[in-house]
Subunit: 341 residues, 2 copies
């Protein structure tokens, strides 16, 4: 069954059928239901080229992939993309991915938009006062920000996790358990999420008149090795921390190894809370000492970003910027306990 | 500096400049060097739209991303893609990614090719007698296979790791160390690489008159959790293995935890060799007992696939299929030792 045959069967134009299937408001609900029913019964799947002609849309979402020789592949990026792909598949959307050196990202986005090959795009790996947001607002097609940019007014559409709140709550729990010496194994220093997690930690400590010394903060890409190195360094400090916040379960993997190697007991000598992006490759509940975490699914964020972007693409009128801030769950397991006496 | 200005500066047509930069044979070497020198000195970067007009190419590589609700994101896929992106960036290529349910991959490739949005594509996640290869050969644009398809004649261009040889050599080493009871923690059963690793293991055992019982083979997606579960089950068997081959360092992570939990010593009570794709998030040398591995970089494979694909795209005449089979390094560390007496 192709579009022409379905058109003849229903006595509707091909354009009407395409628009009905794509949820355009010009088609009334009764007609839309009739078309969807017939499409289902006859096994009709829209031909993408015809669909593109009928709607004037490319059926695609653009994104920039930061890359460079020696640039680490990012397991978090892959997990987010898998959620995006799950939702894109439902709407028959594809991706156009522009690899770009991190310093050339603006140029890469301009190209994506100018090429006409994408209907919308999202921005990720946001930094403080990120210039890409002003640029995106000046361009003609829908966009959404995954994360936010510290220091800018939030007059752009975004989806973010409340990173500040998550780490503030995690630090508060550790304070309630009597901990006073804190450390933070954080993500790359220039990224917005890492800045907010640091600010949340500092805010909780300030409530108790405590500070977080720069020597007790480590910034790195989030791999097992950097988790190990960072924790090993922290354990050498004269003011050895008893409470550690950690920006990823992947960092925590190395951090826990350093703790074990030093002969310390996790959850007794040292408490640790990691942020859990719900990566399928590594579950915090399966660690030998299950990890207490701040949990927010990256895959769910990918699904939601795709939903909102595709909705924005398919709408005729402009929508006001939508702000969505997800609260992370603080999930208590065995890696946290009372401060050692 | 734009193309028009560079054209005026050099007294050459815009088409000639584009073709020189893209390495087309119609432009002689002397002119090409002159153009490249001027481009470098003036900081000219080709405008992609102009480039596309001049060359008739989209400047893009297509790929299909298997996806479905609940489908695991694949850290190995991300690492391969990061290599591909590094090389694509050098040639100013981008990607068009089609998410697809695994059962609809052929349709997804047909769409990619028909859309005109890609100049070439690669096939991954190959299965036994994979129907995508015959289809790809029937389509008009260059493709390359990452992996191979068992049971088919290899008259298609591919890049693969010698998975059979790698696991045969790994099993032989363990046999030399006196091991007789083997097990295999393998990847998904329907994938070609997993089949070949199984065959390599079986071949080595057969040389010594030994067999690999189906009860001692586990197939799963390659996450920490499945590594743990698989190993925990193997350790319950009446004929408990003393030698385990493992298809990924991510599986090994869970497997090692199960070994520790059972109170067994890795490298003494039980020896383990894992395949190491050189994932930045997890290094085998950093395990508490460093892992013996069969090593082959997935990122390097991504770079090489992009090189070959872009070369095929930029050539005018057809090349014969190229076969490239990489040998994995067998790297000995502490997780292997003599069979317990």
């Amino acid at each position: 069954m192709n579009l022409k045959q379905l058109s003849e069967l229903l006595g509707l134009s091909q354009t009407t059928i395409s628009r009905a299937i794509n949820g355009y408001p010009e088609v009334n609900e009764e007609t839309r239901q009739r078309v969807l029913k017939a499409a289902q019964e006859t096994g009709y799947r829209p031909n993408r080229a015809a669909q593109r002609l009928a709607t004037g849309k490319a059926g695609s979402i653009g994104l920039v992939m930061p890359t460079a020789p020696g640039h680490y592949s990012d397991v978090h990026f892959g997990e987010f993309q898998s959620g995006l792909a799950e939702e894109a598949l439902r709407h028959d959307f594809h991706f156009v991915i522009m690899p770009s050196h991190p310093r050339d990202e603006e140029q890469a986005i301009r190209w994506l938009v100018a090429s006409g090959s994408v209907d919308g795009y999202y921005l990720a790996y946001m930094r403080e006062r990120d210039p890409r947001i002003a640029m995106a607002k000046s361009l003609a097609i829908p966009f959404i920000v995954h994360g936010r940019s510290f220091g800018l007014e939030t007059d752009y559409p975004y989806l973010d996790v409340d990173n500040e709140g998550a780490f503030r709550d995690a630090a508060r729990l550790l304070l309630q358990l009597g901990h006073r010496r804190f450390a933070l194994l954080n993500g790359p220093e220039d990224l917005d999420f890492a800045l907010r997690r640091k600010l949340g930690t500092i805010a909780a400590l300030q409530e108790k008149g405590l500070t977080l010394a720069p020597s007790h903060i480590r910034h790195s890409v989030m791999t097992d090795e950097f988790g190990y190195r960072g924790m090993a360094e922290l354990l050498q400090l004269p003011e050895r921390p008893t409470a550690v916040l950690c920006a990823s379960t992947v960092l925590a993997l190395g951090a826990v190894r350093a703790i074990n190697k030093a002969g310390l007991k996790l959850g007794e000598d040292i408490s640790l809370i990691a942020h859990d992006d719900v990566l399928p490759l590594l579950k915090p509940e399966n660690f030998t000492v299950p990890l207490t975490t701040t949990r927010s699914s990256l895959r769910a964020a990918g699904i939601r970003i795709a939903q909102r972007l595709i909705a924005a693409i398919n709408r005729i009128e402009q929508q006001p910027p939508e702000h969505e801030l997800w609260t992370a769950d603080l999930v208590i397991r065995a890696s946290t306990g009372p401060a050692p006496q």
